[in-house]
């Protein structure tokens, strides 16, 4: 009995130590990656390529997600609001909901699925095929050449993506509001503009920047430390998406708490 209890406690201890080790390792990796963003040489070409890949090529995914979410949100708020004769809040709640919460979170999660996996698979394959070692032997620091541009590009690209997503999401709500719920177009737009504050937009964009950093960090970390073979790369890709998604949701709560109390 005593041995079983000891074994149970030991397994909890081992899991906690493992979590602490992994957290420390991610933090050190992040610090190293960020420090390389500010130290020369700078790879502007690589940064441009990553901006295009992470930002521009994620536009369809983020745009479509925002469009349908905005539409669904309008229907849900209308259904809920009609229970106490508050149908008129649809435009303002759609706008605030999209800009403060759903735009950054759903945008972050969609980009996590698309970009985090792609970065982890790319860097993992480079690790397995010794391309990362080859970079080092060619006097090129892999943290500077591979990690720093991806971290910076995702941190810049995600707020821009979310900004576009917010506009498309509000447009989705507008299309449903006007086409299906018989709102007056001018009234809908006026209500949206009147209720939306600068702080709503900026808080969403700050969240998006943090989520962008998380997406790139987890993709880079998992790929860079990928295990051997196809299985190692597969595991790195899965871990990247799962860890980025969970961290985005956790960071979202913490940032909302900060903005809510501010």
């Amino acid at each position: 009995m005593l041995l079983a209890v000891q074994g149970f406690l030991a397994s909890i201890g081992a899991a906690v130590l493992g979590l602490c080790r992994a957290t420390g390792s991610v933090v050190l990796f992040a610090v190293s990656g960020v420090s390389h963003i500010f130290r020369p040489p700078f790879y502007f070409g690589e940064l441009g390529r990553q901006l295009l890949r992470i930002g521009f090529f994620s536009l369809p995914v983020v745009g479509l997600t925002a469009l349908f979410t905005g539409g669904a949100l309008a229907l849900q708020i209308f259904a809920g609001g009609s229970r106490f004769n508050a149908e008129s809040v649809v435009p303002s709640i759609v706008a605030i909901g999209m800009v403060r919460e759903l735009g950054p979170v759903l945008g972050g999660l969609m980009v996590a699925g698309r970009v985090s996996a792609s970065i982890a698979a790319e860097l993992g394959t480079m690790r397995v095929t010794e391309q990362i070692d080859a970079l080092t032997t060619l006097s090129t620091n892999p943290m500077k050449f591979l990690v720093a541009p991806r971290l910076l590009a995702a941190t810049i690209a995600l707020p821009l993506l979310v900004l576009v997503g917010d506009i498309i999401g509000i447009m989705g709500g507008f299309l449903v509001g006007v086409g299906r719920l018989e709102f007056n177009p001018a009234t809908y737009i006026n209500t949206t503009v009147d209720f939306l504050e600068v702080g709503d937009v900026t808080s969403g964009l700050v969240k998006a920047a943090v989520f962008g950093f998380i997406v790139a960090l987890m993709g880079c970390y998992q790929g860079y430390n990928s295990g051997r073979g196809a299985q190692g790369v597969g595991r790195a890709t899965t871990n990247a998406v799962v860890s980025a998604s969970v961290l985005i949701l956790a960071a979202n709560y913490m940032l909302t708490e900060v903005f809510f109390t501010a």
């Binding site: 080859a134 080092t136 032997t137």
Partner: protein, 251 residues
Amino acid sequence: MTPRIEMKDVQKSFGAKHVLRGVNLSIAPGESMVIIGGSGTGKSVALKCVLGLIQPDAGQILVDGKPNTSGNRDEFLARFGMLFQGAALFDSVSVWENVAFRLRRGKQKLPKADAREIAIEKLRRVGLTPDVADLFPAELSGGMQKRVGLARAIASEPEIIFFDEPTTGLDPIMSGVINELVRELVTEIGATAMTITHDMTSVRAIADTVAMIHDGKIRWTGPIGDLDTSPDPYVDQFIHGRATGPIEAVR
């Protein structure tokens, strides 16, 4: 004469697995040393320790009498060229950009046109035509990828070149071509070469001296001419490819 590369009692473990158990090795300037040994005996780890890609747990590695961890890292690495086992070409850039990768970076950065010209010259040197320059690595055969890797390794005319299993995965004819190229290039550049392989044809084509590594230690070292008459039973079993002997077939 100060050896170009010297390993003194180098040890490295990965968890409970002791890969290097005290490697002692010395390579003279201009010498082509081939390290032979079975799979998993620590050949690649020893090579990566010299480059600083893996940090040894104990021991010392000297390059021209100085520790490999001292001085400017970029300047240190600029003295080396390396052909990786799978060529390790960068998928996202073209063949010529792979070859000219080092030439386009650092203090000695060359203009694009000059770097491309050198890359094409190096490609020609390893038997590839200029039309290959604009292709991507995925469009090349295994043998062509190895040649591009070779061109990249010699692009900056390094003093020391490492070849990690240069003929693995190639047919016998292509292996012969690569072996000849390696030997010619090392002689032509006057570089010190360190090759790891278990292909005996490569050993005989490339080596001035041979070292055999087994169980994380150098078992035997000597000139290529003495390899066949070595009294060491491990060397004898390895070079004749016998299943029975002191080296266990199941490792």
